[in-house]
């Protein structure tokens, strides 16, 4: 079973994503900030991380950087409200596999995540 980690500080967004990916048959982990996310990655080795950027304590960019520095096999998908070109550029430069902006279409998100994992 594919393991997926969802990181977001908005409880409602977290709830909707968790529901969505569980339904698609993923093993879902959730984290409410960057620090918690890094702990889960260390422990559970998810195949893919869906990352918000603006979060308390450690932000999404930092998490991505951390992942790419230690274990480049984890795929990273940014899912954020930051839609400026330079924000996207920064995310991609850090080695993200995909950069999606909020609000998003559920179907679109799921299909893109699936295609990356294969």
């Amino acid at each position: 079973m594919n393991k997926i980690l969802i990181v977001d500080d908005e409880p409602n967004i977290l709830l909707s994503l968790e529901f969505l990916f569980k339904k698609e048959g993923f093993l879902v982990f959730i984290a409410r900030d960057g620090e918690e996310a890094m702990g889960i990655i260390e422990e559970n080795h998810p195949d893919l991380v869906i990352l918000d950027i603006m979060m308390p304590k450690v932000d999404g960019y930092e998490v991505c950087k951390h992942i790419k520095e230690n274990n480049n096999e984890v795929k990273v998908v940014f899912l954020t409200a930051k839609s400026k070109r330079q924000d996207v550029q920064k995310g991609m430069d850090l080695g993200a596999d995909l950069y999606l902006t909020k609000p998003f279409s559920n179907k679109d998100l799921v299909s893109k995540v699936k295609s990356i994992m294969n």
Binding site: D9, E10, N12, M54, D59, A81, K82, P103, S105, N106
Partner: protein
């Protein structure tokens, strides 16, 4: 009284001290510390005015003519306030034109005329030589008196090689050569000489006051005692002005000394050439008269004391100063007095000789050398050495001549009479100078004939009688007049007998001088060169910054010729330096073209003027360049242009200043606008970002609800979330609009008289449940009973609620609401025991979306607009809001003014600040 050896060693010891002072000051100046550059030294150096004549002669004159002696000091004091007009102008002209002496000044003003400079120099020599010789006489006499206690004047005459005075004179000449002719530039300042003279001024003052105190308080019992004793001896006439004659004497003597204090060569040297800063005149204007007053305080007491003490005719009154201490056996006091007199004499000799030697070299010998083509070719390449040599030789010659004059003639006259005759000679320059700096029409021929005419009369009325007395001229001329015409008697021309001898001479010589100067000037035409100089002199304050372009010159000058000329006088290094200076000042490069422009020609001429005098410099420059004659019309035209250009330039400068100011203002405004724009952009970007969060949730759950077949329970839960997020969005939109209204000043407060206690209790009510849930201990402390205040009730509640709700998010266990009255304000504080606001963030916490400022580390909870809105609300009420730490708790505090009027005023003020308060 004192041994010869002792006196000689003290005398030369004193001279050695002068050398030491001069040497030390020069060394200090060469290290960049100019000791003389202050108004006190300047004023002291002007006191070179007080010579041995003052020191010994004033007492002599007071003993015969009473307080009349004061006229010579009252004149300079009266004229001192005018220095700011006359002296400052002369200083400015001399500095700008590189003028080095009074002869050069006159010559330069009247078209750089050789004849005029030469005539002035010769007359200066004639006038000053006797004056110098009486200084030597004074020194020699005092020396003898001190040595032999011989109080009468019948001294043995030694041949010069046995005469101490001769060796002293040579010593002074040496000093003058050493410290007066170091620099080839005659305009260069003589730091060492100035400091030595300043020292001498102090020394002679102290010595004179010392003897004055001795006579007044030790020989007699104070001023009153002297006067009463003198009165007993029938000396009353000395205390008052004598009749009508006395008054006119006073008047003429004052006029005479006014002219002398400005134009005596030594005064010109000290006051103009050695002046470091025009501003020093300010203080010198009262310091110098104060000095004169001090040195004259004891003149009358000493004179009267001498008259009382010594039987009439046994002691020359000129020597009372020295005779009194000797008579009372005060050897050392006599020595100090002697040295004081020595210092008065030496300072005069040194300064006068320097000034005269400059004139002799620059206005007499150089022009002769340069006009004669044979001589010029012969000496062309060593001119600079020659100039210095001429000055050194002439110093010795002048001093030796003065010594000879002393030996041969001056023993026959009193100090004062020779001094006054000198003064009258110098006074002859006054019309040419004063006219020269205030009257453009004053012409060369007028000045020349005025001075010559004045001098002839001076010679006839003042010098001839002395020659008769000395036995050089038959006495018949005095009794019968020239050619036996009684109207031509030297001492009573046209039968004028009421005036004294000196006043008579002054009156006639000066009248003839002025009349000739004015009349001839009115009827003669100036050459273009002369007119040019006249304009520049009279309007010096207009031209002093643009002088080189105000002297009109036309012709062709080859740069190498000009350079070679400068080279001859300045040497290679200095030439390079001055040319560099010129190009920096004018912004022109020299050496790119073969021709020198007129400004460079003028500049070179000015430099040379400082070395060899204006007339000689003119000749030198004219000899290396090809000049064209310029018409008067051209001169006038160009001068007018210079002035117009200058005023145009000034207007332009003013305009450009204003423009610069305006553009700076615009730039500032632009900056503010740009900043505002940026803040607006940022705000919008933050708002849209904030809106995306609830929209994302709404969309995600809507899609879930649409796609999936969900159990009822989940459906309800998700729909609840959608409603909750919609509310959140509405709230956000409301707040943004709110803030926008506050920001643009369109927000209106709904002011009502409200009971503040009730308002606070109502505001806290809704929070009580939250505190209970979070297990937070909540206290309210209200420090007043009944308070009615004009506020917008809902808005103030909103603020209190916002602060409480923020506190509830951070507090651990405890929240306190405190409110009290202080001064004219209501205070409300909300304190919590949470982690607080980091100090560096405190200033920004009330800005919109502050939490978003730190881009990625996100807000705890809330929209980030609450505090910004609270701040606006409080400010609209005329209050203030801030955050700080208090005894470990975080305290948010706002104030509200208690008075309604106050309230309104501040409110409108806050409105005004809206525009500028965009940070």
């Amino acid at each position: 009284m004192l041994s010869n050896g002792l006196i000689i060693s003290f005398t030369f010891g004193y001279l050695a001290l002068l050398f030491a002072i001069a040497w030390y000051s020069e060394r200090s100046a060469s290290r960049g510390k100019k000791l003389s550059s202050n108004p006190y030294i300047y004023a002291l150096s002007l006191a070179v005015y007080c010579t041995a004549w003052t020191y010994y002669g004033s007492v002599g004159r007071a003993a015969t003519n009473g307080i009349e002696f004061l006229a010579i000091y009252i004149g300079p004091s009266l004229v001192a306030p005018l220095w700011w007009v006359v002296m400052r102008k002369i200083i400015r002209i001399s500095k700008v034109q590189h003028i080095s002496s009074i002869a050069d000044f006159i010559s330069s003003r009247y078209g750089k005329n050789i004849t005029l400079g030469g005539v002035v120099t010769v007359f200066c020599l004639l006038g000053i030589l006797p004056y110098t010789s009486i200084q030597i006489k004074a020194v020699a006499n005092s020396f003898d008196i001190l040595q032999y206690s011989e109080l009468s004047q019948n001294l043995i005459s030694y041949p010069f090689y046995q005469d101490t005075a001769f060796y002293l004179a040579m010593g002074l000449a040496l000093f003058t050569v050493l410290f007066g002719t170091r620099d080839i530039e005659a305009t260069a300042q003589h730091e060492g000489m100035v400091m030595a003279v300043a020292f001498e001024s102090i020394f002679k003052l102290i010595a004179f006051i010392t003897v004055g105190v001795f006579v007044t308080y030790f020989v007699f019992d104070g001023f009153a005692d002297i006067i009463s004793q003198a009165s007993l001896r029938g000396l009353d006439h000395l205390f008052v002005l004598q009749g009508e004659n006395g008054i006119s004497e006073w008047f003429w003597m004052s006029i005479l000394s006014m002219m002398a204090v400005l134009f005596l060569p030594r005064q010109f040297q000290m006051g103009v050439i050695e002046n470091n800063d025009e501003k020093h005149l300010d203080k010198a204007m009262w310091l110098f008269p104060a000095y004169l007053l001090l040195i004259n305080v004891f003149v009358l007491p000493i004179a009267l004391g001498g008259l009382v003490q010594f039987p009439l005719g046994t002691v020359d009154a000129d020597t009372f100063v020295l005779a009194l201490p000797i008579a009372y056996n005060q050897g050392w006091l006599a020595m100090i007095v002697y040295l004081g007199g020595f210092s008065a004499a030496t300072s005069m000799i040194i300064v006068s000789t320097i000034a005269l030697s400059n004139m002799v070299s620059n206005n007499l010998i150089m022009p002769i050398l340069l006009v004669n083509d044979n001589l010029k070719v012969k000496y062309q390449h060593k001119l600079s050495k020659i100039v210095l040599r001429i000055r050194r030789v002439s110093i010795f010659v002048i001093i030796i001549l003065a010594y000879v004059y002393y030996k041969e003639i001056s023993t026959q006259f009193s100090l004062v009479s020779i001094g006054l005759i000198s003064f009258v000679a110098i006074a002859q320059f006054t019309p040419a100078i004063i006219g020269g700096i205030f009257w453009k029409k004053g012409a060369r021929l007028g000045a020349l004939f005025g001075i010559i005419g004045g001098f002839l009369l001076w010679f006839y009325t003042l010098v001839i009688p002395t020659m008769v007395t000395a036995g050089y001229v038959a006495p018949g001329i005095l009794q019968n007049g020239l050619f036996g015409i009684s109207g031509l008697k030297p001492t009573s021309l046209f039968g004028f007998q009421e005036m004294s001898y000196v006043t008579h001479g002054l009156f006639f010589s000066l009248s003839v001088n002025v009349i000739l100067y004015v009349v001839i000037s009115l009827f003669s035409t100036q050459t273009s060169k002369e007119h040019n100089q006249a304009v520049v002199f009279v309007d010096i304050f207009k031209y002093s910054t643009s002088l080189d372009s105000s002297i009109i010159w036309k012709g062709q000058a080859y740069l190498p010729d000009l350079k070679a000329l400068l080279h001859n006088f300045l040497g290679e290094e200095k030439t390079q330096e001055v040319l560099m200076d010129f190009s920096i000042r004018t912004g022109r490069t020299i050496g790119t073209q073969n021709f020198a422009d007129p400004e460079l020609v003028n500049y070179s001429e000015r430099l040379l003027t400082g070395i060899i005098g204006s007339a000689s410099a003119r000749i030198m420059v004219a000899s290396v360049v090809h000049e064209e004659e310029i018409s008067m019309a051209e001169v006038l035209g160009i001068l007018r242009e210079t002035q117009e250009l200058k005023s145009l330039n000034m207007a332009l400068k003013q305009k450009s200043k204003e423009l610069k100011k305006a553009s700076e203002k615009l730039q500032k405004l632009n900056e503010t606008l740009r900043l505002n724009d940026m803040l607006k952009d940022e705000f919008i970007s933050t708002v849209t970002h904030e809106m995306k969060t609830p929209i994302t949730s709404i969309r995600a759950f809507s899609e879930i609800l649409l796609d999936e077949d969900l159990p009822e329970e989940d459906k309800k839960r998700f729909l609840d979330i959608i409603i909750q997020e919609t509310n959140r969005m509405t709230r956000l939109i409301d707040q943004v609009l709110d803030l926008e209204r506050f920001d643009s000043g369109r927000q209106e407060l709904n002011l009502e008289k409200s009971d503040i206690r009730i308002l606070i209790l109502q505001a806290t009510e809704s929070m009580l449940q939250v505190f209970k849930e979070k297990n937070i201990d909540f206290n309210i402390e209200i420090g007043y009973d009944d308070l009615q205040l004009l506020v917008d009730e809902d808005r103030i509640k909103q603020v209190i609620l916002n602060l409480l709700s923020n506190a509830s998010k951070f507090a651990k266990h405890k929240i306190v609401l405190k409110t009290f009255l202080k001064d004219r304000d209501l205070y409300l504080q909300v304190l919590d025991d949470g982690k607080g606001v980091p100090e560096e963030e405190a200033p920004y916490i009330f800005e919109k979306f502050f939490q978003a400022k730190n881009q990625t580390s996100k807000k705890p909870i809330g929209s980030g607009l609450g505090l910004a809105i609270s701040k606006k609300i409080i400010e609209y009420h005329g209050g203030k809001i801030r955050v700080f730490k208090e005894s470990g708790m975080t305290c948010f505090e706002f104030t509200l003014p208690l008075q309604f009027e106050h309230n309104l005023i501040l409110q409108s003020k806050t409105d005004d600040e809206q525009d500028t308060d965009c940070r």
